[in-house]
Amino acid sequence: MRLRQCGTNAVLVEVDSLDEVEAVRAALASARLPDVVELVPAARTVLVSTRPGGLPAVREVLASADLAHRAATATEEVVIPVTYDGPDLELVAGAAGLTPAEVVELHTGAEYQVAFCGFAPGFAYLTGLPEPLRQPRLDSPRTRVPTGSVGVAGEFTAAYPRATPGGWRLIGRTDAPLFDPRRPTPALLAPGHRVRFEATP
């Protein structure tokens, strides 16, 4: 674990894997430090920003954090209903050497975890994607991916909370309310959440 200075009131915690990112995030989240303003996990880092004077408490928690074992936090499980009729379903099946039905079986059979969010409000990068579905982005990204599209890219799967440009291979779509700024809990998915997908007819 390396700590990198990030302005006066933030520190970037650098680790070696997504598992260690989740361990750092969970350790800091469960410590519930009153002065922490933002706790932003990413692929190999966790950004912690605080009110003035809040960093010493952060360093203390990090000094005793065990990266090999995740803090036991109560993790919410979210089930997302998906209609598997995406425009790239055949492409993904072909690349994996599977039938579309087998792709659906694999995608719904796995348990995922929100590693981090970014790109757009409520866009959650989910890890736990079965190996055959880990496929590159499209050579040419779409200028508009419709709201609710479910796709795969690299080691991640995700659902688009709003229509944006995007290069993920799209295998389905969901009506789940992924992001609504007027709700008390605006984002359906947040870092640490466990997620499953369920096929709807």
Partner: protein, 315 residues
């Protein structure tokens, strides 16, 4: 929507009313609001933003020159975090539909009530028209109105975020801007000191988190000279000028996306730094060589394209 159709920004005062019926504490035929007669190049609702949601991909947003918005709010008797208007390069014309106190802060900006120049704070009676001229320097004036702008909150804030689209759309001619009920007492002043708008900024920057991606980051930042580009906005200040060189072992390397703070100086492969402001993306994949001191952010929010900029790096 046709331009002739008035657009009513939904008021959360009405929606808060028990029973769900639209009614107001005062005569419902005289809602507290402003009617937009002209919006200028860009007028946005801003408060102090919605920090604390970056882990959901939500930028902090909020007034770029926050001290000016806080001052304007104090002048009209609002809490400092009430929502006001951030007016880019003047041009805002509004008609008051109820009696209210108004303050205009930021760079020196002429404010006329029914055509007559006024010093802030001042009073508007129902029917009065306020028009802002262009600021003599800088970019953004802040207009606070007693009661505050009362559009609904999204994630605890009324701020318009130009990156994520959260908060109300930029004001347009014909909009009705709802106002809250005044809660405090306006503060009288004799003279307001405008935000300075120097031709050259010297911006203190603390090195890191990725200064090791650059050969002698401190030396390069200290020796470089930049100009604020006209491609700057609320997301960030783009700079033209000295290209920062990566350390030889980092050339062509990629960085996994990581969290960004407001004030981060990110360096894309072309070497020209971008200083992120309030509507910045929550993560980015180019190395951040340093983070500017918080006290410099309001001046950056007021820096016109063409402003000269140097960095004063600190370890």
């Amino acid at each position: 929507m046709t331009p002739a159709e008035p657009r009513v920004l939904h008021s959360d005062i009405a929606s808060r009313t028990p029973g769900g019926h639209e009614s107001y504490a005062r005569d419902p035929r005289v809602p507290r609001s402003l009617t937009v007669l002209g919006a200028g190049p860009q007028t946005l609702v801003q408060d102090l933003g919605r920090p604390g949601h970056a882990h959901l991909g939500v930028p902090p947003s909020g007034a770029l020159d926050a001290p000016s918005l806080k001052l304007a709010n104090r002048l009209v008797g609002n809490p400092e975090d009430a929502a006001g208007l951030e007016v880019l390069l003047g041009g805002l014309v509004v008609r008051a539909n109820a009696s209210c106190t108004v303050a205009v802060t930021g760079p020196h900006t002429p404010a006329r009530v029914n055509g007559v120049l006024r010093d802030s704070p001042f009073h508007l009676a129902a029917g009065d028209t306020l028009a802002l001229g262009a600021p003599s320097g800088g970019l953004r004036a802040y207009v606070a109105v007693s009661g505050g702008v009362a559009v609904p909150e999204e994630l605890g804030s009324r701020a318009s975020d130009v990156l994520s689209g959260l908060g109300p759309a930029p004001l347009a001619e014909g909009d009705e801007v709802p106002l809250g009920e005044p809660a405090g007492v306006p503060v009288g002043v004799d003279v307001l000191v405008p935000t300075p708008a120097p031709d050259e900024l010297v911006v203190p920057v603390l090195l890191g988190p990725r200064d090791d991606w650059f050969a002698d980051a401190g030396g390069q930042l200290l020796g470089g000279r930049w100009t604020v580009s006209d491609r700057s906005n609320r997301v960030g200040i783009r700079l033209t000028g000295t290209s920062l060189e990566r350390a030889p072992e980092r050339v062509g390397r990629e960085l996994a996306s990581e969290g960004l703070v407001t004030g981060a100086v990110q360096v894309p492969p072309d070497g020209l730094p971008v200083v992120f402001l309030a509507d910045h993306p929550t993560t980015g994949g180019y190395p951040v060589v340093g983070v500017v001191a918080e006290r410099a952010l309001p001046l950056l929010g007021q820096a016109r394209p063409g402003t000269l900029l140097r960095f004063a790096p600190q370890g």
